[in-house]
């Protein structure tokens, strides 16, 4: 009996060591609250444009991937401390973020951001109170535009702020705002769209060059055969490549 236990232990340990090779499972971290990029469906699973994209990229790069959700505010700290390996959460490529993490090439065009406000309201967008999600390119855009910025932890709360009058308008990716504008009669786009950011890419640790190259190649192959454009059209993300 003792021998049996010993053998099992040794086998388990050996198997564990063999499986523990570099990136045998790639953990994809997302926010799960930013449709159509990523959201939780009725079953509570991660769904959306990035879910399909991520699964396809992992298949092309021959990687086993697993999805985890994380709060937006701590999404970068948890990546660099190694709780997951990739951020795929509608994160625009910016210089500030490049200083801390690495990005793959962009898989969406620089996305127009739009202002959503109460139907028929006349707003001076440079002097109004504008809601945006904290730590986003939209938040820094509002802060530098002269308008008063109110920040919220989740995208959902920014919309709620406009509905209840706390903010005059919300600035966010147009792909996120469009379905909301279509369905709610009391909300409408105001002003001109603004182009900010360098498109959305996957974020990785700066030390993780192998994995970045693999995903870069996979994104390139999806751009080349047009399957990325098909996904962008399906989820109505914005301009195609």
């Amino acid at each position: 009996m003792k021998k049996l236990i010993l053998t099992t232990t040794v086998l388990t340990l050996a198997a564990g060591a063999a499986l523990a090779g570099s990136h045998s499972v790639v953990r994809l971290g997302t926010e799960g609250a930013y449709p159509p990029f990523n959201f939780l469906n009725d079953k509570g699973e991660v769904d959306g444009f990035e879910r399909e994209l991520g699964d396809e990229l992992c298949a092309r790069a021959e990687l086993t991937c697993e999805w985890v959700t994380n709060d937006w505010d701590s999404i970068i700290p948890n990546l660099v401390s190694g709780n997951y390996d990739v951020i795929i959460a509608g994160m625009s490529i910016t210089e500030e973020r490049e200083a801390v993490i690495d990005f793959t090439q962009n898989y969406t065009q620089p996305d127009p951001s739009a202002f959503l406000a109460a139907e028929g309201s006349e707003i001076d967008l440079t002097g109004a109170v504008i809601a945006a999600q904290a730590n986003t390119i939209q938040a820094s855009y509002v802060a530098s535009s002269g308008a008063t910025l109110v920040e919220f932890a989740s995208p959902d709360e920014t919309i709620a702020a406009v509905r209840n009058g706390e903010a005059d308008a919300v600035l966010a990716d147009k792909a996120f705002l469009s379905p909301i504008a279509e369905e709610s009669a009391e909300l409408d786009f105001v002003g001109e769209d603004v182009l900010i950011g360098g498109g959305v890419g996957m974020g990785l640790r700066e030390s993780d060059n192998d994995l970045r190259d693999k995903f870069d190649a996979a994104i390139q192959s999806m751009k080349d055969d047009g399957s990325l454009n098909a996904l962008i059209e399906k989820w109505q993300i914005g301009a195609t490549f």
């Binding site: 523990a20 769904d47 701590s74 190694g82 640790r205």
Partner: protein, 293 residues
């Protein structure tokens, strides 16, 4: 989920609500109630153990141990919870991984800190990168329990330290006069009598602990407040079969009722324990009990 839920757009009224409340997402909410209760059930005794250790250390006659106990109480009580949860848990996790790295990968030549990255060899990752999601979740849960236990243990230590000093000194002197050793005096005279002084403070801590569970989401554990916010937020028809407006107020109302009911039940149970502990004690309440009989 009932079979008639397959096409929710045709449903209305109660059957819609029934289907809506049994989606996978709602089931996750119900599970998270269990997570919170389990966390409380494990954390409360663990924190009490930390508190007992801290209080015993703080009144130790051996100076370094006394400093350790007092230092623990002072530092942890002074640091804001949210800072403690953000900093300490990541630091603790990295410390474990660093220790495993030193043991398992002695001939790893790259630095562990590369810029802002924290890189250990794959074998040292905790849990292993290829472990199943539930292992990651359990590990996160254990880290949460440990952090809660350390934080609330410090407060409990202070309460118990005060309670130990509140036991009438003649009791201890009498024990010594009877020839009991310091250890016997501690376990047989001091500890049984201190609880009645400690309980009001400890029951406060328990109430605060119940309310502090939403801090869990900082540690990546999806607790009831996270799910209430996620489920309550407005949903458009493109992304769900059950579109609705901003329902957060209803979900938070349900949370309010849950927490109120939970704290009320706690109060009743704590009152009973207090009554039992008071029995035969040389306190006002104990005296009143004696006279009532």
């Amino acid at each position: 989920m009932a079979s008639f839920c397959s096409d929710p757009s045709t449903l209305s009224g109660l059957s819609w609500l029934l289907c809506y409340l049994t989606t996978g997402k709602h089931v996750a909410l119900y599970w998270s109630v269990g997570t919170v209760l389990l966390l409380l059930a494990i954390t409360a005794p663990a924190a009490l153990a930390f508190g007992f250790g801290g209080a015993t250390a703080a009144r130790s006659r051996f100076l370094p141990l006394q400093w350790l106990g007092r230092g623990y109480i002072a530092v942890v009580r002074g640091v804001p919870d949210i800072a403690f949860f953000l900093f300490f848990v990541i630091a603790l996790d990295q410390f474990f991984e660093w220790a495993r790295h030193k043991v398992k990968c002695p001939d790893w030549d790259q630095p562990i800190r590369q810029g802002s990255d924290f890189v250990v060899c794959p074998e040292a990752k905790l849990p292993l990168g290829n472990a199943a999601q539930w292992v990651h979740e359990t590990y996160g849960f254990m880290l949460a329990v440990l952090t809660f236990a350390i934080v609330f243990g410090a407060f409990a230590a202070n309460v118990l330290y005060g309670a130990m000093r509140a036991v009438p000194h003649p009791q201890l002197e009498t024990a010594e006069a009877y020839g009991m050793s310091p250890r016997q005096t501690f376990w047989r005279i001091l500890v049984p009598q201190m609880w009645v002084y400690a309980l009001p403070g400890l029951s406060n801590l328990w109430m605060v602990l119940i309310k502090a569970t939403p801090l869990l989401f900082l540690l990546g554990i999806e607790d009831i407040v996270y799910w209430a916010r996620e489920l309550g937020g407005a949903k458009t028809a493109r992304f769900t079969d059950y579109p609705h407006g901003d329902w957060r107020v209803w979900y938070f109302l349900a949370l309010l009722i849950f927490y109120l009911a939970f704290t009320r039940v706690s109060e009743i149970v704590l009152d009973r324990i207090m009554g039992r502990l008071t029995h035969g004690q040389a306190t006002l309440a104990g005296d009143a009990q004696r006279k009532a009989v």
